[in-house]
Amino acid sequence: MSVNQFCNTISEQLNTGILILDIEFNIVEWNRFLEIHAHKETSEVIGKNVFTVFPELPKRWFERKLSSVIQLNTQSFCSWEQRHHLFELSHTRPITTDSHFMAQNCTFLPIESDSKVSHISILIEDVTDVCHYQSKLNKALEELSKANRIDGLTQVFNRKHWEECLDKEFSRARRYDHGLALIMFDLDHFKRLNDTYGHQCGDAVLIETAQKIKSLLRLCDQFGRYGGEEFAAILPETDLVGATDVAERIRKEIEKSVIKYQDKTIQISSSVGVATISKNNKRYEDLISNADVALYEAKASGRNKVCVANNIEYTLE
């Protein structure tokens, strides 16, 4: 067997497509892999322009890509991560993946004769497998990162992520001398509710209340479950009057709303503490403690009310 025959045999059995074009982009040669996966007769392909045989190719992009190979006499690449496929080819896992066409990594190689690029060899690798598993991995990572941020029960931010948000907002507000307000909510007599109606009922109340509060906040506000029956909202660019207004509105809505659980109707109220950033606050934790003190104040002075930090009780009207 001559070296040439070896090469031919290998190229015919290779699980990689080989497509040779001249510099006018006419197909000079291809291998069995492409013949099979493109479902086209070799005799109908050789000598034809690549855009005639593969009309799905993005023509302008493809021409510019190949011009870099010819002009710079250098290899070029195209990964499935940027373009799932260039050529519409069938693949070898039609049953166990949801991919319609073969995902491809393509390599464009210049072929020189007489120190000028005369042809371009395109190698087409089937990476449907890689693509399939990478997509699964990405999805899993996405879910994982979501699970890391979201409270499983109420579907609002969890404490850890919420605090990270506060940390960022706090630094930003300090750096640019912007306003920043914090509202902390605590559902009144929640333990009693749990004891009377059961934990599942308590859970339903938490879920509904969390959604209610969230719906009353702006998109830019960040809302999370601080722990137990305690929730907290970060209001960027907001002063004390604005924040207290929002807090009062939410308190009233919670008081008004009727939660249905099985055949029971439940009403609940909340105690609310409000604090805004001040020059004395060095760390975001200071802001939390201020709001916490106000919240305690609201609890201690009868519940179902809004208190603001610095022991100033705020009443509407």
Partner: protein, 210 residues
């Protein structure tokens, strides 16, 4: 910064080969991109794996990094890192001769990286009678990546998370400037210890010819 374990003659020879390769690469790029590409005189130094992230971080708060492996005869191989600054990608499609809607920003960055890396290394290789092959370029990190799955916020973090199986590498840093597009980026070639010895051998052979 570590001194190179090269003799003065070896360093002089390597620097000259790189300078010449830069000139030719810049000429080829200018023709292809239809605008002048200036390559700034490179720094060549030795870095230890421990300080690689410090070295790179002090130079670039990069928003995107593309890596491409290269390998030639005589055991010459390494990895090229292309590092982009914020705003660098504004007019990339235009520079590359594509319509912006023909390809994503990520693909533009990868495409340009591949062109810059291979053009330079091809001429470098021909200077030393060698020929380079390349792995497909990969986006290691991009801060505006849509499908970002990692929380790493910089190239140095990316590098810090790697454990290397080399101690010392040769680092060649070349800055590309495209004035017409107010664009510039850094290319850092990292050549592992084992390949440095091979480069030194090639340089010695060239020096003998003179």
């Amino acid at each position: 910064m570590n001194k190179l374990n090269f003799t003065e003659d070896q360093q002089d020879c390597l620097q000259e080969i790189i300078n010449v390769a830069m000139g030719q690469a810049s000429d080829q790029l200018a023709r292809y991109l239809d605008t002048f590409v200036y390559l700034k005189v490179p720094s060549i130094e030795q870095v230890s794996s421990k300080y690689l992230s410090d070295t790179i971080n002090s130079e670039a708060q990069s928003v995107a990094v593309v890596s491409q492996g290269f390998f030639g005869y005589e055991g010459i191989r390494g990895e090229a890192l292309l590092m982009y600054q914020p705003k660098d990608s504004d007019r990339l499609a235009d520079l590359l001769g594509y319509e912006p809607d023909e390809l994503s920003v990520e693909e533009q960055i990868i495409d340009l990286s591949s062109i810059l890396t291979t053009t330079f290394l091809n001429v470098f290789a021909s200077q030393i009678n060698n020929q380079m092959s390349y792995s497909a370029p990969r986006l290691l990190f991009s801060s505006n990546s849509e499908n970002k799955t990692s929380s790493q916020s910089s190239i140095s973090e990316h590098i810090e998370h790697q454990s290397f199986n080399w101690d010392v590498a040769l680092k060649v840093k070349i800055t590309y400037q495209v004035t017409d597009y107010s664009f510039n980026c850094d290319m850092v070639l990292l050549i592992p210890e084992s390949a440095i010895i091979n480069i030194a051998a090639v340089i010695d052979r060239i020096l003998e010819e003179y």
